[in-house]
Symmetry: C2
Subunit: 360 residues, 2 copies
Amino acid sequence: MKYNIAVIPGDGIGPEIIREAKKVLDTVGKKYGHQFCYTEVLMGGVSIDATGVPLTEEALETAKKSDSVLLGAVGGHVGQSNWYSLPPNQRPEAGLLQLRKGLELFANLRPALLFEELKAACPLRDEIIREGFDFVVVRELTGGLYFGERKTYEENGLRKAYDTLAYDEEEIRRIAKWGFEIARKRKKKVCSVDKANVIDTSRLWRQVVKEVSADYPDVELSDMLVDNCAMQLVKNPGQFDVILTENMFGDILSDEASMVTGSIGMLSSASLGNSKLGLYEPSHGSAPDIAGQNKANPIATILSAAMMLRYSFDLEEEAAAVETAVQKVLKKEYRTVDILSEGKKLVGTDKMGDLIAEEI
Amino acid sequence: MKYNIAVIPGDGIGPEIIREAKKVLDTVGKKYGHQFCYTEVLMGGVSIDATGVPLTEEALETAKKSDSVLLGAVGGHVGQSNWYSLPPNQRPEAGLLQLRKGLELFANLRPALLFEELKAACPLRDEIIREGFDFVVVRELTGGLYFGERKTYEENGLRKAYDTLAYDEEEIRRIAKWGFEIARKRKKKVCSVDKANVIDTSRLWRQVVKEVSADYPDVELSDMLVDNCAMQLVKNPGQFDVILTENMFGDILSDEASMVTGSIGMLSSASLGNSKLGLYEPSHGSAPDIAGQNKANPIATILSAAMMLRYSFDLEEEAAAVETAVQKVLKKEYRTVDILSEGKKLVGTDKMGDLIAEEI
Ligand SMILES: CC(C)[C@H](C(=O)O)[C@@H](O)C(=O)O
Ligand SMILES: CC(C)[C@H](C(=O)O)[C@@H](O)C(=O)O
């Protein structure tokens, strides 16, 4: 089979980690007889530099016509880059928001798990993580405060601003279904996170999630307040299977969850909609301080490519092959600098890609 | 001097911990020659049971006329208590929101610190907390999503809801000043947390905080995105001095911060406005599961009373005496069950109050 992949290297370490992911994909292609065709697309700071905007119409069109999108990272140093003297909706990150909205990718999946070999990197004490943990944050991605009406204005000589957090039942229902579907393939537990003791959208959220749960009697549903969830992620991350939440809460909690694993350089993410077309990217940022130095960990991007094989192309065996290859390389004690510990073998970005490709 | 304190025992463990705080205050009164007069005020579930609403007009008036308010905790088990079959704005927690707004307490201060004696309870690894940490979350408390216009409605057969996150420059300026004033008495660092890469209120927030900082050249200001802050609290809490943020972000981050200390039963909080009148309460909740069992840790409430002495009554020496007494009792290895570790002496709520009072 032939698959058309729109590839967005983006900024910072983006090009390096994307190069390694393509290396691994090509190896999978050779072994299993698939053809992966890449079309490079500009987004973020590099797009601003080349075209003046963080995402052109044509770039979005190319992404739309592809079978799937693989992204490195976008953005630079806020204090140091000219990109940040532009108005907010013309900055690198705005390109990402436009892409999510343009492709109608309303479901963001971010696995947070403890890699057995990397337990020592976890900031939590051994007693807490003895049993390990493995959960997914399912975040609504095209609604809420991110896309509601907003305005900055002056009234009676006073500067004022507002943002709107809005949801309708359809938006909640479709993401809730994703949450339950994923839980069904895992430990069958959904924890829906909201602030229903204060805001209306959270109360509607809680109600609709409950309604959806009626179609999933095999999946256990619980509700948790967002402030409590921020605590529980530190106290006992092992209690979670699927955390289902709205856009802004999901932004905060999924980043907290990544850090709790201690190995953010290992964490993949997928943004999906109603079609097979998805956007796959590492959970970490563009790390401009180490860009071009062959230091970046390409594993999160490689595992994102594996998610692409699984969710967009239904190539379960191939996805598993990539994941197993990563496990093997870790077992053999190869590490990029971000996950290095005493006695382990330090390798650069390109070598890590080579090693994983070799295991396939 | 005579001080009139409105005391709100509230629900769950509230009455027990308030009893111990009064015990300590009375000892301070005797030693330093002050008279603390208590007027009991109903709020939360007990108020619903007695009056039908979580906070009556009279209760609010009594609080307004007092010199300061000391609160235990409000709320019960959501699944088990009848209070939660009421509409959201009539539930126990709504009383607290009405009190904050009614007393115009726009500044919430929540210290998060590692007690030397309780380091073992911290969920973070020793390497991370070796140097300890001691910071304060300064949270805006009467604006944002908590008090913006909200609505649940039906349109074209679809249920919809929205909440509004609104701020004006005055609201931001007055809380920012609090942040800088507090930093001035501490390590002189303010980290202002927002989501300026996405929402308008955060951009106004960032701008106004920057303007305010001009009046505090001795205080260092940095900005951080809320998702990053949720990570940094786990990765390296020692980097913070004062975290300044809006209402909802503050709700999430201050709870995460409490959990990161590992001893939430020790953490006090103060809600302040433009007058000397403040609301002081422990950071933890009402813990209905252990209510009435003499198990609750009264220290957070006792330390909240100390904050009251300091901020509302300007009794710095007396406040320090309470804090020192708490330290001494910990040094002598007395512990309530929530902070118990091997070899330490277990005591109940009342005994812990006695011990602290004796040290004064
Ligand atoms: C870059 C930014 C706009 C984005 C977000 O807030 O969604 C990022 O933090 C993320 O989580 O993917
Ligand atoms: C009880 C609830 C309304 C309250 C809040 O969200 O402000 C609580 O979580 C807090 O932080 O004091």
